[in-house]
């Protein structure tokens, strides 16, 4: 895989405006990885008791980043999905985000829509760092 080394702005421009606007603010405040983590773990404003739903308190980001690393760094588990990516050349950033989000979502039991902004931020990091360097460091 050759993940493009593009600007953060270009990666985020692949998202919906509501996702992009929030991610930009989170990244400016907390940095890339922490922004992705906060996006995935947020349930709206603090000091609010919710009148419905079932809150999932299971720590999630570590599982998410581990599955992301497995996908990006060539783990056998995601071989089929990576081959799906290689069918298209050059691969658009939108395709990267969609395929990775869907694959991770299927494994983790999360909807791809929720994962996509976090995936785009991590893909940006990989592109900036270089695939080999990312896989050695993570």
């Amino acid at each position: 895989m050759n993940i493009p080394n593009d600007t953060l702005e270009n990666w985020l421009s692949e998202l919906k405006p509501y996702q992009k606007n929030s991610l930009e603010k989170l990244i400016a405040e907390y940095g890339d990885e922490e922004a992705a983590k906060r996006w995935l773990s947020s349930y709206g404003p603090s000091n609010i008791v919710h009148f419905g739903g079932e809150k999932n308190n299971t720590p999630f980001f570590d599982r998410f980043s581990e599955e992301f690393r497995k996908f990006i760094c060539g783990d056998e588990f995601y071989k089929k999905e990576r081959e799906q990516l290689l069918v298209e050349s050059p691969i658009a950033k939108q395709i990267y985000i969609s395929v990775v989000s869907a694959a991770l979502g299927a494994t983790l039991g999360y909807t791809a829509t929720l994962l996509a902004p976090a995936v785009s931020v991590l893909l940006y990091s990989v592109g900036k760092m270089g695939l080999n360097a990312y896989c050695k460091s993570s």
């Binding site: 906060r38 996006w39 349930y43 709206g44 603090s46 009148f51 419905g52 039991g109 909807t111």
Partner: protein, 272 residues
Amino acid sequence: VRHYCNYCVWFAKQSCSLSWVVLKNIFIIKVVVDIRHPCSGAPLIGKTVSLNKREINMNVFTQIVVVVGKITPNGVSMLGTGFIITNDCKIVTTRHIVGESDKELVVLAPHIKDINEYQDTTDVRCQPISAKILEIDPIKDLAIIKIDANFTGDLPQLGSFDDVKISEQVGIFGFPHCVDGRKVLTFQEAEIGAKILLQSNNIKTKHAVINSQTRPGQSGSLIFSHRISKIVGILIGAYIPGGGGISLGGINPLELHQTTQCISAEYVKEML
């Protein structure tokens, strides 16, 4: 109009404009009357009288406000409220209701047609319709889900808390106590008590405090302004200091107050 015309036989000859806008579910009648002396033509009242009357057909809410739940081995677990916002049946609700996955996610088809019907609380039958998550905004605690259906008819438009003023009356439509297995579409009316900015991960968003006590199941309820005939907010919960408290018989005393927190409906527009 007829009443006034019978009262003053010369009234019909006076300047009188009538505008009558009829939408499918909303009737707006506006009468502007300018009464003058029949001989001199001098204004009798001294100023123009404006009369506005709005009559909302409440029954539309029986069809668009729905219970959101998940199918479990024991049946449908009702998790909160949502409402249809587009004719292809996109439904607005909260992120904390839908969770992280649309596995087994359903909405329950409407169970009444007339808001004045007696809702049988012993009738536990329901018609679940499979739903998919389209959008989730965890920062604002909003979600858009969709069912494979079509809604024919006019739907209330989305507005914002910018459009309403403090002390103005708004209506709340939702399903209080549905998380306890009770499916009763309930209307409440209360004032806008305050407009506030709430913060999530240092991102501030527009909310309002509604002066009404609400209960579990009402998350996702729509907040409707009769004055402008728009949905101005979505109920998300109640303020609770420190996010904590204790449970006494399943009730957290810190939740029991009349300052319900609702997010402005404007944020839904960018998710559709």
